[in-house]
């Protein structure tokens, strides 16, 4: 039966690929004739890196629309283009970084399967995104979902900007930057159900989840006409879209799939913490692109997001380590790594809306809250969120999203909002609605997908396969032969 399934999967994959080829002659003209001379208009002042551009420049649109009306197409700004190119590369690197981060925490016999859960996302999500995902997230649609106009990247120019998203960088660059986020998000979930899910089930699960959960939420929060965007919920770089969505589905998944064999009585220590620490380093490094690049331009907002990201990571590292030291007697390296990631998660929604002292506060609070979520809450409630996807991304993303409503200030970003501390208590409520909607949606739809996958393919490997390890049984390989 698995055998048959495998055949089907292969077939499906090939068909998908071939279908998408079918699309390309129709797209041969995607670099429109108007594109080539576009850059000669660069001296036009308008699209110069706007210093306070929100990730989606709704409010800025009028101002720029004028400039756009005159030439055939607005020109991309070279400096903005470089920054988002670099940021895209940095965000891509986070996925191998995540593979290391998670891979070091599992047992040796599952290290490759854990890596694969990240690496395969770089494959499957790329294909899905360019074929249909990007269009559904960012194509013209309604408040809930995008449209079909960008299917197969039709009309997504590598030269000229879109007139709504990233109006100073080529549209295709905006598309690929967003793709990097779409890749890492499902991979984040793999931490919760590590060491026990079938690879085939995982592959189907993240494919469907990406289209049915990630894509809609991305549209709500960042898409033209998305209801959370229009409501004024702030999410600079993906606190809800990336971290809450994955964190919540991850929680549902680890409860549905059940605990690891032998958990928690058997010894399940991380097999290689140096790997986890290297992963942390790469995540931290890549996160500058994740948050800093979300300014979509080489401007003060990028600097703000970069600096806030760094500060939150640093202070959250200290916060986790110091609390752990006081509570448990020893400061751990895994604690430092966990704190850093928690801080990075926490600052994600806020990075372009708060000042450095806000970042310091958000980092410290997220670090401490995640510490207790991971160390106390989990063991009390008894689920096996094996590598703490929920504890760090779900909780950290939620804390960060709410605190954004507390610390945000228009003195940093005129296209943002003022938060609680700046006299606008309502922003916390707005943030809460965004968070709650994401929680509910990700839990229900994520849960349904898992249910269907479980009933058809089966989520979990056989118990003896779990004993032998997923590397051997799912992939026919061993991580180390030393």
């Amino acid at each position: 039966m698995l055998h048959t399934f495998r055949r089907h999967l292969t077939l499906a994959g090939c068909v998908l690929t071939l279908l998408s080829f079918g699309a390309f002659p129709a797209l041969a003209q995607d670099a429109a004739p108007g594109a080539a001379p576009a850059v000669t208009t660069e001296s036009a002042p308008a699209p110069e890196s706007t210093p306070a551009a929100a990730p989606t420049t709704t409010e800025a649109a009028p101002a720029e629309a004028a400039a756009e009306a005159e030439p055939a197409a607005p020109a991309a700004n070279p400096a903005d283009t470089v920054w988002v190119l670099v940021s895209s590369a940095l965000v891509l690197l986070m996925t191998p970084g995540l593979a290391l981060f998670y891979g070091g925490m599992v047992r040796q016999k599952n290290v490759l399967s854990t890596f694969m859960q990240s690496f395969i996302a770089m494959g499957i999500i790329t294909v899905l995104w360019v074929v249909v995902g990007y269009s559904l997230a960012f194509g013209k649609g309604n408040a809930l979902i995008g449209g079909m106009d960008f299917v197969g990247l039709a009309g997504v120019s590598p030269e000229t900007p879109d007139d709504f998203y990233g109006t100073t960088i080529p549209h295709q660059l905006f598309m690929v930057f967003q793709l990097m986020f779409a890749i890492i998000t499902p991979a984040l979930m793999s931490g919760a159900f590590a060491e026990r899910m079938k690879f085939s089930a995982y592959l189907v699960f993240i494919s469907v989840w990406s289209l049915l959960v990630y894509v809609p939420i991305a549209h709500w929060v960042w898409g033209e006409g998305g209801w959370l965007l229009d409501m004024g919920a702030l999410d600079f770089a993906g606190g809800t879209v990336v971290h809450i969505s994955s964190g919540i589905t991850a929680l549902v998944a680890c409860i549905m799939i059940g605990k690891r064999r032998g958990y928690p009585s058997e010894e399940q220590r991380p097999h290689n913490l140096t790997m986890t620490l290297l992963g942390t380093g790469l995540l931290w490094f890549g996160w500058y692109g994740f948050n800093g690049g979300s300014s979509l331009g080489a401007n003060g907002l990028a600097v703000t997001a970069f600096v806030n990201t760094h500060i939150a990571a640093g202070v959250a590292t200290m916060a986790w380590v110091l609390v752990e030291w006081a509570q448990r007697g020893k400061p751990t390296a895994l604690g430092a790594a966990s704190g850093a990631v928690a801080g990075l998660v926490g600052i994600t929604p806020a990075a372009g809306f708060v000042n450095p002292m806000g970042a310091l506060a958000i980092g410290a609070i997220t670090g401490v809250v995640c510490y207790f979520a991971v160390v106390s809450v989990k063991s009390k409630l008894g689920y096996d969120d094996s590598l703490d996807t929920f504890g760090v991304h779900g909780v950290g993303g939620t804390v960060g999203a709410l605190l954004t409503g507390v610390f945000c200030t228009t003195s940093v970003n005129s296209l943002g909002k003022d938060g609680l501390l700046y006299g606008n208590a309502g922003q916390v409520w707005t943030q809460f609605v965004g968070v709650a909607a994401t929680w509910i949606y990700a839990a229900i739809i994520g849960g349904l997908i898992l249910l269907v996958v479980d009933k058809t393919i089966g989520l979990r490997v056989k118990s003896t396969d779990e004993e032998a390890g997923l590397d051997l049984t799912q992939h026919g390989e061993e991580g180390y032969v030393m």
Binding site: K109, R261, G262, S265, E266, E267, T464, E467, A468, L472, T473, G476, E477, E478
Partner: protein, 112 residues
């Protein structure tokens, strides 16, 4: 003094150590080994090259006990390590001529 060499599934080590401790046996030496036997192996493939891996990860526990305890220890080991599936492992045992505690120079049962 009898030396008991016990080959078990890696995941049973913690339980075995726990139960031996409850019997009052804290001394043991543990080695990571790989074992072949009736338990089926795996096929691995690296870029198409195929390897039949018949050696599976096992743990070897060595424990030296006074002769009268041997049968009790056998019972404890079976109790802790039994899953009933092929590959649960073996106990090999033989008498020692002597033992020395390096720290004190104690010999024989005293050294354990």
């Amino acid at each position: 003094m009898t030396k008991m060499e016990v080959i078990i599934r890696p995941e049973k080590l913690e339980e075995l150590q726990h139960q031996l401790e409850e019997m009052g046996l804290t001394g043991m030496t543990v080695t990571e080994v790989r074992g072949a036997g009736r338990q089926a192996g795996y096929v691995e493939r690296y870029r198409g090259l195929e390897y039949r891996v018949r050696l599976l990860p096992k743990v070897k526990v060595e424990v030296v006990v006074p002769d009268p305890m041997v049968e009790d220890v056998v019972k404890t080991i079976r109790n802790a390590c039994l899953t009933g599936e092929v590959g649960d492992g073996k106990i090999f045992m033989w008498k020692l001529d002597d033992a020395v505690r390096i720290r004190t120079g104690d010999r024989g049962n005293e050294a354990l």
